[in-house]
């Protein structure tokens, strides 16, 4: 029989006191038909921590963060974000909580009928009711400068490269000043140089916005560069956790192939 206990190796996570916990997930389960994608996931995210969830494609990494923001309803389990039990929130309360969570999509998910400026203005106008052109412009330019793309403000998403789209997607979430960032495969499909730039951006976002982040990836170099702590997700369960170096030296048969690259 397989050992289902999570192997915890990180003994000294920065700021890992109980009061610093921003996300708690307990026994989270989700199935699609007969296929169990999440099989009892348990995890905690601490204040200002970059937590990388590493795992093969199809192990439920994206489903996990989509459950966190209410895009997918889990079958069972408990999700607490910033002290709020997600399953007990009304639609209005959920939308208010979502304002504190930034979600960077794998495919950027930029609104392709709008310019970069309109993409960034959209949540400001609709969520915060800001319509003052001067203020909007100031906020848009600040967010774009933070991701190094001020010159792309009037471009359409179709005119941007993959890396630029990711940056604009991140800028669109940053404009609402989130407390938690969720990155879904931030470096997927990018060349190594652009991947490094995105990894640096993830670190600089934490520095500037003091965000706590969950980074979903199967890119080992991204995990190494961005993580404070790594969780190995295997068969819908958190199998092993620790720092990047601890996981690398642990020799776990399910995760070892990642470290060979």
């Amino acid at each position: 029989m397989k050992d289902t206990k999570v192997h915890t190796m990180a003994s000294t996570i920065p700021g890992s006191r109980k009061e610093d916990i921003v996300v708690t997930i307990k026994e989270l389960k989700k199935s699609f038909g007969d296929h169990a994608v999440l099989n009892g996931v348990n995890l905690k995210l601490f204040q200002s921590e970059n937590l990388v969830i590493l795992g093969r494609s199809g192990t439920g990494k994206s489903v996990l963060i989509k459950c966190m923001v209410g895009l997918i309803r889990p079958d069972s389990g408990y999700i607490n974000i910033l002290g709020q039990d997600v399953s007990k929130l009304s639609v209005k309360e959920m939308n208010e909580l979502r304002l504190k969570i930034g979600f960077s999509f794998q495919g950027s998910a930029l609104y392709d009928s709008m310019t970069v400026r309109e993409n960034l203005e959209f949540p400001l106008k609709r969520n915060l009711g800001i319509h003052d052109k001067k203020k909007l412009n100031e906020m848009v330019m600040t967010a774009l400068e933070d991701v190094g793309l001020a010159e792309a403000v009037n471009k359409m998403p179709a005119e941007l490269s993959g890396g630029m789209k990711k940056r604009v997607g991140i800028a669109r979430t940053l404009i609402l000043k989130p407390e938690i960032m969720l990155y879904d495969e931030p470096t997927a499909g990018l060349d190594p140089i652009t991947s490094t730039e995105i990894n640096e951006l993830i670190l600089s976002v934490r520095e500037k916005y003091h965000t706590s982040s969950i980074i979903i990836t199967h890119d080992i170099s991204s995990a190494r560069e961005t993580s404070d702590r790594v969780i190995g997700l295997v068969n819908g369960k958190c199998k092993i956790e620790g720092t990047f170096e601890q996981l690398k030296s642990a020799g776990d048969p399910d995760l070892e192939p990642f470290f060979k690259y």
């Binding site: 923001v69 998910a109 930029l110 609104y111």
Partner: protein, 251 residues
Amino acid sequence: MKFRKLLISLAEIFAFLKRVIKHFFLPPYEGREILRQCFLVGNKSLFLITFTAFLAGIVFTKQSRPSLASFGAESWLPSLVSQAVIRSLGPLITGLICAGKLGSNIGAELGSMQVSEQIDAMEVSGTRPFSYLVISRVTATTLMLPILVVYADIVALLGSFMTVNFFNSSSFMLYFNEVAANISYLDIFSSLIKSAFFGFAIGIVGCYAGYHSEKGTTGVGKAANTSVVVSMILIFVIDLLSLQFINLFRR
């Protein structure tokens, strides 16, 4: 298994319809987006409606004229054409054109937004995309179809007048006096209400198909296709039902 799938789909459609009706009355009210969608609805279909309604007016008049002439009732031509155009031809042509033009557009647009996670992105940023994307489109198609139908009726009658004038040199005033004398308020209002239902059906079907589009490019194509086919079928069903209903008043 197929029957179970059908029942699930019906339940989903019913839930979607319920959600749409509920959101009609709930804030946020998307005034600016509704106006933008109304403009797009009119703008996208105006040329095609003008062209087809004008031709339909000519063809119907040319086809009816010999039959009426054979028993000396040529003077009834404006009466026949006006009743046919206002009661059925105008709403039907407009409905079918909008089903093709707008239904496919809404289905494909929302479908590709769904596939590329743009709707999810709106959802997670708390921007309530349902009102923005669905309610605005359904409202726009429901409001614009009656307006487009009135326009199509006028264009078709103009086409008819030009045909009559070509053969008989009839005056504009005489022709349209005949038209006005032979249509009732019931004809006009029933036509407008029926076309509002056409618009509602086109909007709902397009939005449902797009919002529930399957992943991948085939999903988008399927959403566009479903929007057109189902909207067209619904237009004929609504036409038949409204005819049955209005006949109760005519008797």
